[in-house]
Point group: C3
Chain length 257, copies 3
Amino acid sequence: MNYTLNNIPERTKKPRQFGFTMAMDKGLSLREVEDFIEVSGDYVDIVKFGWATSYVTPNLKDKIKLYKDAGIPVYFGGTLFEAFIVRNQFDDYRKVLDKYDLSYAEVSDGSIELDHDKKCDYISKLSEQVTVLSEVGSKDEEKIIPPYQWISLMQAELDAGAWKVIGEAREGGNVGLFRSSGEVRSGLVQEILTKIPFEKIIWEAPQKAQQVWFIKLLGCNVNMGNIAPNEVIPLETIRLGLRGDTFSHFLKMTKDN
Amino acid sequence: MNYTLNNIPERTKKPRQFGFTMAMDKGLSLREVEDFIEVSGDYVDIVKFGWATSYVTPNLKDKIKLYKDAGIPVYFGGTLFEAFIVRNQFDDYRKVLDKYDLSYAEVSDGSIELDHDKKCDYISKLSEQVTVLSEVGSKDEEKIIPPYQWISLMQAELDAGAWKVIGEAREGGNVGLFRSSGEVRSGLVQEILTKIPFEKIIWEAPQKAQQVWFIKLLGCNVNMGNIAPNEVIPLETIRLGLRGDTFSHFLKMTKDN
Amino acid sequence: MNYTLNNIPERTKKPRQFGFTMAMDKGLSLREVEDFIEVSGDYVDIVKFGWATSYVTPNLKDKIKLYKDAGIPVYFGGTLFEAFIVRNQFDDYRKVLDKYDLSYAEVSDGSIELDHDKKCDYISKLSEQVTVLSEVGSKDEEKIIPPYQWISLMQAELDAGAWKVIGEAREGGNVGLFRSSGEVRSGLVQEILTKIPFEKIIWEAPQKAQQVWFIKLLGCNVNMGNIAPNEVIPLETIRLGLRGDTFSHFLKMTKDN
């Protein structure tokens, strides 16, 4: 850090198993990636190329290299996996992962109907090739999954070989974990945490109020996902109790100890 | 594209007469323009320097050159035209177009009262000098134009020499084609399309939900305008059915065929 | 300016005592700072490193140098001052200001309870070392300060040595001067202005509707704060009546004269 402040919450350090930040790149240029790494390289643990943007961005190979050289793994969003599955192109998908020499992949079913055994089967197969993140939760506002089912889905996917499970929120933060207003479905989150270890879950929380909510509930080292590149520094200050939103929260904790 | 997915909607290619994307530059630096072109050059057909930002941005000449060298024409927002007209400086406006060697211009009346014959007269005069885009719709929330009038205004402006007509929405997407909530005035759009060929219209749709709405109604090759530079790649995935929002829509179309 | 338009409101020029724009840098890279200066250098008078982002951004020294070389002073957000005060590290804070050779600092109490005499004492002490901006208003939505108290707080802080006082709004623009909806507390602003000279106040107004409101009320040379870097050019056009929002407002004024 640039100077010394006492009683700052202790953050985990790279390589992090928890307390990590997954950022979303939805079409950065090479220079923008360099800029992002210059500013936020120490705070970003993994980068997702949002949904299927990797299909259309022309600088893909070079961009992956920039992130890799900075020690930041990348993976393609789950919607891309689904786009291959729904077209019966699973083998092609595996080849794409090889072509770009990726070591992470996401398995999700946010936009397609996928039998859960079949989904776990894909997780299992892919985990022989790469480290798998699997995502639970629909992109469809109408599909409400009850808490006990979130738990059994998450557990089954971890058992099938997923490294971590992701709680779905979309870029806009308005489905899955969240009501259409963007409000957190808090009872859901708390019930999930009675069964699934918190370090195994990445919470997608693109909006500041959502980040604040999770950090107040689970502490500075909660795993956060879908963070916009220019929001990684602001998020880091929220984690440390150095932004108005969590300033008093962490002070109170210090006094209570 | 970076890899092969079957059954992807077929996009038009540059130079596009329809299916094109107009992006809005409201003050990019030269390097940001280079970055934008690196990432989105194939998907951007024309760039608007938003409203009268060209009056204050210091890098104007060099910026125009960067876009031109990349084969992307630029034009100044309609509000600038209006700023000249309301000051009785039409001749000065024509000289500005010459000074910057522009080959496109926008004629609009979103912020001023302008007799429609007079507006068509301006379109007609300017179209001797440049390719004219004309814009229909007020920036004033209170001014509701009924559908039949949108149609007759658009037709008259095309007859006067406009290359394409633009459906007004402002940067925030909350007037003209849209209710103040941002919701599309769908009856209006559908009635317009019974009379005006869809390739002649550019729909301003800065918000994602609006883009999705138009793409679902008119297909992947609808003309979209007022797109933020960093939203061109996301828009392209929406056009291709590769983002959650249109994923099922295009799959269903494939099955129906 | 790039071309001539008649009857444009007259803006103050650098170095500005009023009519100035304070922008917020919440984690720009060095190149992004260069880009920002290229585009907006003439329109930005001072830059705030938002809240305590300076604690975590790795490029701090070099970034400060870039701004300084362009003649743009920088300062650290008030939340950083508060983070030092609440930890009893005021002397450390003074050393940090020296270490980075800063000539401006902000004193605020948006997140902490601070006796007002004590706050004025800090203003007084710091103003021996640097030029002080002091901020009035809480980040807490629940804390409503009545207008007469805003006035006496502001006056006392100016008397204690503050160069200018800032009306608090947070980055999101939803507290202090604003209702939780983002709407301006207009009676409050007007009452403040009966007693405090308008050139002494910087209004934090991150949202466009708020900027428009202040510019319509106080003219093109009102001091605006918390402006996002890529909104400085748009703000400048609003000040000049060259964006739809203030287009008619300034024309009407011209006619009335």
